[in-house]
Amino acid sequence: MALTKEEVQHVAKLARLELSEDEVDKYTVQLNAILEYARKLEALDTTNVPPTAHAFPLQNVMREDKVTASMAQEKVVSNAPDEEDGFFKVPRIV
């Protein structure tokens, strides 16, 4: 099942990307090629293989519940495009 143009537009919208008509066409072709390539994996028999959540053989990596120092407020907002009184200033959403 190939990826449709509408799906590409939907994904672009979710990712907040503005695509031109040409770009949508181009990415539809490219994304389909990528998916087609990945689809080769479907040829493998994975009947008795549990789904892999992580690539590294690590588990239960945890830390103690201990408070450590946070950052100073002026440092926190120092890279913000816009700030006010120690808050990050952002466009209104709702």
């Binding site: 979710l14 945890m62 830390r63 950052m71 006010e84 120690g86 808050f87 990050f88 200033k89 709702v94």
Partner: protein
């Protein structure tokens, strides 16, 4: 409930902040409040190159909550990224759990008018809280921008999702009430709704009676108190019913409860919602939970509200109404148990006290459910910070039981105890409130009062019962309420018979 033309089908999603010291994936404090953006670090701000590490207490607490809600604990659990853009989420994704939550398949049994009803718990999963937005430029509607404070970002949450088993607003309230009590008892969350540490969303749909398929649901958000939940559900159920009665269709959407307007407002419709593109968080290795780990957590489970309710009825003979009110909050139930210890009637579960013990337990319960709760509510305090300690309450009850003060004087002493936190004995001594139990002294007052009121004596002889009450009142007035009421009655009747 056939007086309504539709069957109501609801499920609740409850978010509870876990009572840890530090955040879920970093060492920032979880303390409520604080100046904006002072409880943050590169990890919870989602700066590039950082590595989140799970706080072990979060897994312990989530498991504990799961066990208390009769869930199965997963042997393999993992974290996923839930992707969406919103300025309260600095990473543009929330670390949550998608298909392998830490606990699932549980239930709790609520009680409605003495009848048990089981509400299924679909799942309990761990996730991080988002930050807070303050809307600048005046009221929400006219705000040109928002101000983001990320202190709350990364505070650990559990989300508890119920099955769509709830059929009335009453059941929804009872469910949330019991869930809150269980979380308080297990001490995984402080459940302060006013501080947002317990939040409730609801999925609501209606269907004609007898129809099998579920109707289209709406998701209600922003109900931050029991009252808000009640009002929001009332509004939304009526709104949906009106649409359906007129032959319209319910749109699947998220709606926000607006407390000021008293209505639910559409936030976003299905097309934009729920497309979160979850995928396993590569920064967080999976959690493998051994049976030993589950057992270790199970050992930490306290006596839960319903078990405690049964114990109070069986051990102390409390009416089940009293027991359910007292066990409705952990602090109140702890207070009761401490008072029983102080009164020397505490018992291990499975044992039952004698009649005297039952009477004492009922006295404690009466004071708690009456005067003490009233005073605490009026001053917006909980049992954990009651100015009257359980020990002092019992000292007061002992003074009444021993005849040192009358029940009437006890009310005065109680008020003073509440105001000053002083011990009742000290108040009784300082104010000279010791009950007069000297027969001679009371008899003198009685005969004086009777002699002064020949007309009332005549009324008494004519069979008017009110006359006795009048004399008792006069004697109490003359002794400033300190005369032993039993003795007053006895001596008064003797005196009146002589007339």
């Amino acid at each position: 409930m056939r007086d309504f033309d539709f069957e109501i089908v609801m499920g609740l999603e409850v978010h509870a902040e876990l009572h840890t010291k530090s955040k879920i994936f970093c060492g920032c404090t979880t303390e409520f409040g604080g100046e904006q953006n002072t409880h943050v670090c590169p990890v919870c701000l989602g700066l590039p190159g950082v590595l989140p590490v799970l706080n072990e207490k979060v897994a312990d607490y989530a498991m504990k909550a799961g066990l208390a809600l009769n869930c199965k604990i997963a042997s393999f659990s993992k974290f996923d990224r839930k992707n969406y853009f919103y300025p309260d989420l600095p990473k543009a994704y929330q670390i949550s759990q998608f298909d392998l939550p830490i606990a699932s398949g549980g239930y709790i049994d609520i009680e409605i008018e003495g009848k048990k009803k089981r509400i299924g718990i679909t799942r309990v999963h761990m996730e991080e809280d988002a930050g807070k937005l303050v809307h600048g430029g005046g009221s929400l509607a006219y705000a040109g921008y928002s101000l983001a404070d990320y202190n709350r970002t990364g505070v650990p949450l559990i989300e508890i999702v119920s099955e769509p088993d709830i059929r009335s607003i009453e059941e929804a309230i009872a469910y949330l009430d019991l869930l809150k009590a269980i979380l308080e008892y297990t001490e995984v969350s402080d459940c302060k709704m006013e501080q947002g540490s317990l939040r409730c969303d609801a999925n609501v749909s209606l269907r004609p009676w007898g129809q099998k398929e579920l109707g289209t649901k709406t998701e209600l958000k922003n109900m931050n108190s029991f009252k808000a939940l009640q009002k929001a559900l009332e509004y939304e159920i009526e709104r949906q019913a009106e649409v359906l009665r007129e032959g319209g269709k319910i749109i699947q959407e998220t709606r926000m409860w607006d407390e000021n307007k008293g209505e639910t407002i559409s936030l976003r419709s299905k097309e934009e919602a729920h497309d979160y593109r979850y995928f396993p968080d590569p920064d967080l290795p999976p959690i493998i939970i051994s049976e030993e780990w589950v057992e270790r957590i199970r050992q930490t489970l306290p006596e839960l509200p319903q078990a405690r309710q049964i114990r109070l009825v069986e051990s102390y003979g409390l009416p089940s109404y009293d027991a359910s009110v007292i066990t409705g909050s952990k602090a109140m139930a702890d207070y009761f148990d401490q008072a029983c210890s102080a009164y020397g009637i505490a018992l291990p579960a499975g044992q039952s006290t004698d009649d005297k013990g039952k009477e004492r337990a009922k006295q404690i319960s009466n004071y708690m459910m009456g005067e003490l709760s009233r005073r605490l509510n009026a001053s917006d305090q909980g049992y954990q910070d009651s100015p009257i300690t359980p020990e002092n309450l019992v000292e007061l009850l002992t003074l009444i039981e021993g005849g040192t003060i009358s029940g009437k004087i006890a009310k005065t002493v109680f008020d003073e105890m509440f105001e000053s936190g002083k011990k009742p004995k000290q108040i009784v001594e300082e104010k000279g409130l010791v009950q007069i139990s000297d027969e001679g002294a009371i008899a003198a007052v009685v005969s004086e009062v009777v002699a002064k009121n020949p007309q009332v004596v005549a009324d008494f002889k004519a069979g008017k019962d009110k006359a006795v009450g009048f004399f008792v009142g006069q004697v109490m007035k003359a002794t400033r309420g300190k005369a032993n009421p039993g003795l007053v009655n006895k001596l008064l009747m003797e005196e009146l018979k002589k007339q």
